[in-house]
Subunit: 386 residues, 2 copies
C-alpha cells in the first residue's frame, strides 16, 4: 500500500432540509455572497427562491449561466464580480460544473494575474475565498474534493486545477433536490460516478485490498440504483445512495494506497473540449472501448475480479469473466439509454489524430496510467468508438 495523506476539511450536511444551516454557516465568512448557478432549473424547482429567502440578511451578488463543461470566460466574470463587490464567500448551487467554476473563481478572486495561469501552474494558488455548495446534480464528487475542471474555449484545453485550498468548506447534499433531474442527467451522472471509481480501481497496486473492496462497494451501489433513480425520480433511497456514492466516489477514499494516472477521463476531456458533449455520455462511449483495448494477460485478473465483485459474474474462467465484465458495462450503459458510439453523437474521425495527441499531452496517460497509452493507442481507442 502506497503512503498517503487523508485530510478532507469539508463539512457535509446530508439529507432532507439540511439547507436550513446556510445562514448560520455562511455568516462565519461574512455578509457578501456570490451566488453561482447554471441555467433556470433552480428557479423552476423553487430552490432559488428558498435560498434567496434564507440569505435575506446577506448582500448577494449573482453569477448565473454556468454552462456544462464550465468555461474560462465564466470564471473570469465571476472573479471580476468578487473583486468589485468584495465578496467574502461563494455559494455554488448546482452540480460539478457550477462547483468547479466556483472553485476556480474562488482562487482567481485572490489572484492578480489571469485566472488561466492558476490552471497551468497550481503553485500560484496562495489563497482562495471559501466556497459553500448546495448540490443539485450528483456526479463529479466536486462537493468533497479539491479539484475543478475548466475548459478554455480559445485553446480547446479542458484541464484540472487541484489545490487543498479549493475544498468546499460546506456542502449541503439533499437528495430531494435530485427529484427534478431529467433522466438523461441522472444517467450521465451515474456513468460519471462509476467511471471515477473505475479510474481509481484499475491501477496496478494490488496490495491496497481495503481500497479495492471499498471501491467495489461504491460501484455496486451505482449499478443497483442508477436505473431505479431514472424510473422513480422521487425514490429517496435511490437518490440518496447515488448522491453519497458520488461524494465518496471521488473524495480520495478510493484512491488511498493506490494512485496512478487516469485513462478514460483525459480522453473524454479532450472530446468534450472539442465537441462540448455531456461528460457522462463521452465516458459511456469510451469506457468499454478502453477496457477492451487494455485487457491482456497482465490485466485479466483485475478485470475478472471487477466482473465478479461489481456485476456478480459467476464465470470461473478469468478470461471469460473479464470479457463478461466489459459486456456488463455495455449493458449497464445501454440500460441507462446511453449512446454507444461517437458517430451517434455527431463526432466523426477527422479530429481523432489531434485529439489523441492532446489527450496524451495534457495527462499522465502515457506515463503513469494503469496501461500506458501512446498517441497511437488513444487513436485506436477512438477509432473503435466509431
Amino acid at each position: 500500500m502506497n503512503n498517503f495523506t487523508f485530510h478532507i476539511p469539508t463539512d457535509i450536511r446530508f439529507g432532507k432540509d439540511q439547507i436550513q444551516c446556510l445562514p448560520e454557516e455562511l455568516k462565519k465568512y461574512g455578509k457578501n455572497v456570490l451566488l453561482v448557478y447554471g441555467g433556470g432549473s433552480i428557479k423552476r424547482s423553487g430552490l432559488y427562491d428558498k435560498i434567496r429567502d434564507l440569505l435575506k440578511d446577506f448582500e448577494v451578488s449573482e453569477l448565473s449561466g454556468i454552462e456544462p463543461n464550465p468555461k474560462l470566460t465564466s470564471v473570469e466574470k465571476g472573479a471580476a464580480i468578487c473583486k468589485e463587490k468584495d465578496i467574502q464567500v461563494i455559494l455554488a448551487v448546482g452540480g460539478g460544473s457550477t462547483i468547479d467554476a466556483s472553485k476556480h473563481i474562488a482562487a482567481a478572486a485572490c489572484y492578480d494575474g489571469e485566472p488561466w495561469e492558476l490552471v497551468k501552474d497550481r503553485s500560484l494558488v496562495k489563497k482562495a475565498l471559501p466556497v459553500a455548495v448546495v448540490l443539485t446534480i450528483c456526479a463529479t464528487g466536486s462537493e468533497m474534493n479539491s479539484g475543478a475542471v475548466i475548459s478554455n474555449e480559445k485553446t480547446h484545453e479542458k484541464l484540472e486545477i487541484n489545490h487543498p485550498l479549493l475544498y468546499p468548506k460546506l456542502s449541503v447534499c439533499d437528495p430531494t433536490y435530485l427529484y427534478t433531474l431529467p433522466p438523461e442527467q441522472t444517467a450521465a451522472g451515474a456513468v460519471d460516478i462509476l467511471s471515477h471509481v473505475m479510474e481509481q480501481y484499475f491501477q496496478s497496486n494490488d496490495e491496497a485490498y481495503i481500497t479495492d473492496v471499498l471501491s467495489e462497494a461504491v460501484m455496486k451501489t451505482v449499478v443497483k440504483y442508477a436505473r431505479k433513480a431514472m424510473d422513480e425520480p422521487q425514490n429517496y433511497e435511490a437518490r440518496s445512495n447515488l448522491m453519497w456514492a458520488s461524494t465518496v466516489g471521488l473524495n480520495h477514499l478510493l484512491t488511498v494506497g493506490k494512485g496512478g494516472a487516469w485513462s478514460v477521463h483525459p480522453i473524454e476531456h479532450v472530446i468534450s473540449a472539442y465537441y462540448d458533449i455531456t461528460h457522462g455520455v463521452g465516458l459511456a462511449i469510451l469506457t468499454p472501448a478502453w477496457m477492451e483495448y487494455v485487457l491482456s494477460d497482465k490485466t485479466v485478473l483485475r478485470f475478472a475480479r471487477f466482473a465478479r465483485e461489481v456485476f456478480g459474474v459467476k464465470e470461473t474462467d478469468d478470461a471469460k469473466a473479464a470479457e463478461l465484465g466489459i459486456e456488463k458495462v455495455r449493458e449497464f450503459n445501454r440500460s441507462l439509454g446511453m449512446p454507444s458510439t461517437l458517430t451517434e453523437v455527431g463526432i466523426l474521425q477527422d479530429k481523432f489524430d489531434e485529439m489523441a495527441a492532446e489527450a496524451v499531452r495534457t495527462s499522465g496517460i502515457s506515463l503513469r496510467a494503469y496501461v500506458k497509452l501512446e498517441i497511437s493507442d488513444v487513436k485506436k481507442i477512438l477509432m473503435n468508438c466509431r
Copy 2:
C-alpha cells in the same frame, strides 16, 4: 437513509516514515508538548528515542504508564501536568487507551472542575488542547474519531466522552510500528475492529445500502488479514490493510445514514470495568452469544446477508446462512486464539446481575439498539457465555 453530518478534521499521514512530519506539525501549536504513552514497548522498539530526537527543539513533559482500559487517575495526572507546564499540544503515542486518555486530558486541561464531570456531561467541554497521535496498535479507531472511553476505578464505570473538539488534529499511522505487536494484541485489535463495524452494520435501517456495502468491505478486510498479521508480523500488506480498516471502521463513514445504539460494546465495557480484561477478548466472547440471542425472524435477513457477504457463505436458505454466519464468527475468533467463554478468563456468574443492570443503565441498549435488550436479556447473554 437518515440525515447525517460528516466532517472529520483529522489529518491522517499514513505509511512508512510519515513520523518525520511531527516537528513541523506540532510547532503549529507551540513548544510545550505532553508526551503520553503506555508501558515500555515504545522504548524497546526504539520509537521513543526516535520521537524524543524529532522533538529535540520542544519542551517535552511526559506522562507514561497509561494502562489498557485507561483510568481516570491517569487523566487527572495528565491534566495536572498540562496546567502546571502550560502544555500547548498533547502527543499520544500508542493505541486506543493512550489516545483516549490523551483526549480526555486535552479537555480536562481546559476545565476547572473535576475531569469526570466532563464524561458525565459533555456539554461542559468548551475547549480542548490539540491532540496529535502516533499510532502503534490498530483497533479502536480513536486516531480519527472524537470519542474516548475512560474507566473510573472508584465507581466501576467505563464510559465514553465524545465531542467534536476531541478529534485528533493529526494522526501518524505507520504500519511498520505494528511489526512488534505481540500476536495476542494483534488478535484483540482485529476482533475490536470487526466488532465496531458489526455494531454499525447490525442496525435496522436497510435503506443505507452504500453504508452497508462499505461496511462489508471493511469486515472482509479484517477477516482476510487478521490471522496473516499474527503469523507474519512484518507483512506490510496485512498490517497496512488492518491499520486502515481500524481507522475507517470507526471514523463515522460506516454509520452515516444509519445509527442506533450499540449492543455488544456496552456489555463488554461493564465486564472490563469490573474485571479489567482485554477489550477485544471480551468482545470475542460476547459477540457470538449476542448474535445467537438476537437472531430471529425479524433479523434473519441481515444475519444471512452478513454471512454471505463477509464470510462468503453459499447457503441459499436464509435461516441456515444466518446460523453459519455465527459459526463463522466463532471460527474466526478461534483462529485468532481467542477464548470463547467468560469462565476461561476467570469471570464467574456472581456479578452477572449487577453487570447486566449496569450495561443497561449506562447505554442505549434497552432503548435504541438493533434488538432492544433489557437487564434480563443481558443476563441471559452473559449466562450463555459461561
